[in-house]
């Protein structure tokens, strides 16, 4: 392998495995390793123009008549552990994750299917609690669960249970939301504090080493997005910053839209308990997963009406402007730090690891 790098002089380090032969946990982090896996293996193998768009849901046109609503389709698998954590559980997550993927392309979520992989030995009582939670979340969002499948695997072959959900939704003809639509001059809005979900799950795993009042922010965001689209059908981008956090989602948008995005650190809300937990563990809250927040990129002249609409909604009360889209630095996200300097805000690389000291 050294022959590939003939121009480099000096003597020190070995070349590590680039992890191209086996799947690593980092491939599921939602960061650059996940992105590379999709670009290098999934897209070439399964490619078509609809899949290649790279938004949270696929958007398909059922007839050539563009006055008729389009269909949004998405699927999402949930393997969170533990199954229950402060503020939610795997069932609520499975419904909200798919509902939100539909909502982020401007769709009204309609129907949902559920696939369960259950581990031998799982207590029926746990399954009942999760089903109850799924029904509550479906009711809250208005989506209807219309089909399901169950498989059971041997003890030790799954972590209690895994859930896959797939959903369809309807996109009205005047709505065109996509990660590729951000334009210079647009305003970046964030619907609330970041990092709550990821830290709540770490806490439930007992990994914080202390107790806190942090709860997950899991929520269905479709009512919020519908209210926003009703006052401004011309919203350019919607995205929920899940795995990889706010930083990674902003990078995806900058990349898809070929624009630069500048955000101001002091405008990004982080709950004090989340900030403290991150400080102690050496995490950056901008890379921690959220499950009930959204980023909206909107035309500057619509910012007032959209913000006031969001702030009246349950899951958008703390919405605020955090930055702008610019023509410079295409594909990059810049952060204006709390002390006034500017730096790159990169996407998450692989697995999120705590620092040593």
């Amino acid at each position: 392998m050294t022959e590939e790098f003939p121009t480099i002089q000096g003597a020190v380090c070995p070349i590590p495995l680039p992890h191209q032969e086996k799947i690593m946990l980092g491939h599921g982090s939602g960061g650059k390793m996940s992105h590379n896996l999709i670009q290098k293996y999934f897209l070439p193998a399964l490619t078509n123009p609809i899949l290649s768009v790279g938004d949270d849901s696929a958007v398909v046109q059922l007839t050539s008549n563009t006055d008729i609503a389009r269909l949004a389709l998405t699927t999402d698998s949930h393997v969170v552990w533990p199954l229950f954590f402060p503020g939610g559980d795997i069932g609520r997550l499975a419904i909200c994750g798919t509902v939100n993927d539909l909502a982020m392309v401007g769709a009204i979520p309609l129907y949902l299917t559920v696939g369960f992989i259950l581990e031998e030995g799982l207590e029926i009582g746990i399954l009942e609690r999760i089903l109850q939670s799924m029904q509550e979340a479906a009711h809250e969002s208005g989506i209807i669960i219309v089909a399901g499948d169950t498989k059971v695997v041997q003890h030790g072959k799954a972590d209690g249970l895994y859930i896959n959900t797939s959903g369809v939704g309807q996109i009205n003809p005047n709505i065109h939301v996509s990660g590729a639509n951000a334009q210079p001059g647009d305003v970046v809005i964030l619907s609330g504090s970041v990092g709550d979900h990821g830290i709540a799950v770490l806490q439930a795993r007992g990994e914080l080493g202390f107790d806190s009042e942090i709860t997950s922010d899991i929520a269905p965001l479709n009512q919020l997005t519908q209210a926003m689209l009703s006052v401004c059908p011309d919203i350019h981008v919607l995205r929920d910053p899940t795995r990889g956090g706010l930083a990674t989602s902003l990078n995806e948008i900058a990349h898809q839209s070929k624009v630069g995005i500048i955000v101001k650190e002091s405008d990004i809300p982080v709950r004090p308990a989340v900030a403290v937990a991150c400080e102690m563990l050496g995490f950056d809250p901008l890379y921690i997963a959220n499950e009930g927040k959204l980023i909206a990129i909107v035309p500057e002249d619509a910012q007032g009406i959209i913000l006031s609409t969001m702030q009246k909604m349950k899951y958008g009360e703390s919405s605020r402007v955090i930055g702008r889209v610019v023509a410079d630095y295409p594909g990059k996200v810049l952060l204006i730090t709390g002390i006034g300097s500017t730096r790159i805000l990169d996407a998450l690389s692989g697995e999120l690891l705590p620092r040593i000291c």
């Binding site: 020190v12 380090c13 590590p16 946990l25 690891l353 705590p354 040593i356 000291c357």
Partner: protein, 361 residues
């Protein structure tokens, strides 16, 4: 998180003072990787006078852990029945051809712990398995690592051991100052190391090499304060050891912590990745605690790999070169495909440049 030590006006105040004071070019080294990251993360280098050059020191424990020890860790972690525990950052560091991630992907039981005491708990939970903790780090992590050994001894655990790779800051500063290519004129000493050890070892170095050393913290205001104090000395032709982090650090340091370190560890020679063997620069287990030595328990002493000649991490760790001067930086060498430890660790200088620096991209 907003604290006074990140206050924009306070930062601006110190920056102005530094600008007023600086009349000629100076080269400073921040020892600690945590400081390097704070400098890049807050863009402090953008605010300083162009006459001040910051070079990044060897104070990233992940970066300086020798290939030999990493290979030993990999050998132990892939042994049957072993639970290998480590601080998270170490999982990414390449040994010869593989890393702890690949051991885990191949079925090895590799677990991230936040504290070595968690590793002791795992040893209690699994009495029929060997639990090993990768005890790396500078003086900062030594007390916790030592505590885990004392705790295991107290509990009579026969299935707990540590792979020790401890390094110490003062011998590294001496090595840098005696290196023929040295350009460093003043040091920001690592605040958290001094919180444990105090700074009684440093005045002799200041005097011998006529170099200012300022104990420095990690918040933007702390780092700038350290720079200001160092520049002030340099501009006045002084060379003392000063404490710029008095809210955390005392001259004598944390004496109970030093006492338990001395009880369990003894000074030894240590190989630093990219720098080489430095006499008396490490800590090893005292013979009385040999039963907790993973190297003996797993007979991995014969592992002695060769470094292959690819990246310039060694010169970066010694402050001789900057990440941007490496032809592979950001192209062949990125955090996803690192060629060297300085790109692998989140505290490594290359990773800090790659993540945060506008000028480098």
């Amino acid at each position: 998180m907003q604290t006074d030590y990140r206050d924009e006006r306070l930062v601006q105040g110190v920056i102005e003072e530094i600008h007023k004071l600086t009349t000629q070019p100076w080269v400073l080294m921040e020892i600690c990787g945590g400081q390097t990251h704070a400098i890049m993360r807050y863009g402090l280098d953008q605010l300083l006078p162009s006459k001040i050059e910051l070079v990044h020191g060897p104070g990233c424990p992940v970066c300086v852990t020798s290939l030999e020890l990493i290979d030993k860790a990999l050998a132990i972690a892939s042994s049957p029945g072993v639970v290998f525990t480590s601080y998270g950052d170490m999982l990414r560091v390449p040994g010869s051809g593989r890393d702890l991630f690949s051991i885990r992907a191949n079925g090895g039981d590799v677990r991230v712990v936040y504290s070595p005491l968690d590793a002791v708990k795992i040893a209690q939970q699994y009495p029929d398995r060997q639990v090993v903790f990768f005890a790396i780090g500078f003086e900062t992590t030594a007390p916790a690592n030592v505590m885990s050994i004392l705790q295991a001894k107290r509990l009579g655990l026969k299935n707990y051991s540590v792979l020790v790779s401890h390094v110490r800051v003062p011998p590294a500063i001496r090595a840098i100052l005696t290196s023929p290519g040295n350009r460093v004129q003043g040091f920001l000493a690592a605040g958290h190391v001094c919180a444990v050890m105090g700074y009684w070892e440093y005045p002799a170095i200041s005097e011998l090499f006529h170099v200012p050393i300022v104990v420095t913290g990690f918040e933007p205001v702390d780092i700038l304060q350290g720079i200001l104090m160092t520049i002030k000395q340099l501009e006045h032709g002084e060379a003392r050891t000063e404490n710029g982090y008095p809210r955390i650090v005392t001259f004598d340091g944390n004496q109970p912590a030093q006492a338990i370190i001395n009880q369990v560890f003894t000074e030894c020679d240590r190989k630093w990745r990219g720098i080489g063997l430095l006499a008396g620069s490490g800590w090893c287990l005292r013979p009385e605690y040999a039963e907790f030595d993973a190297e003996l328990r797993f007979s991995v002493n014969q592992i002695q790999p060769e470094e292959s000649p690819i990246c310039i991490a060694g010169q970066i760790l010694q402050g001789l070169k900057k990440p941007k001067e490496c032809p592979a930086f950001g192209t062949l060498c990125t955090p996803e495909t690192p060629l060297g430890a300085t790109m692998v660790s989140s505290e490594g200088a290359c990773a800090a440049y790659y993540r945060y620096s506008l000028r480098s991209q």
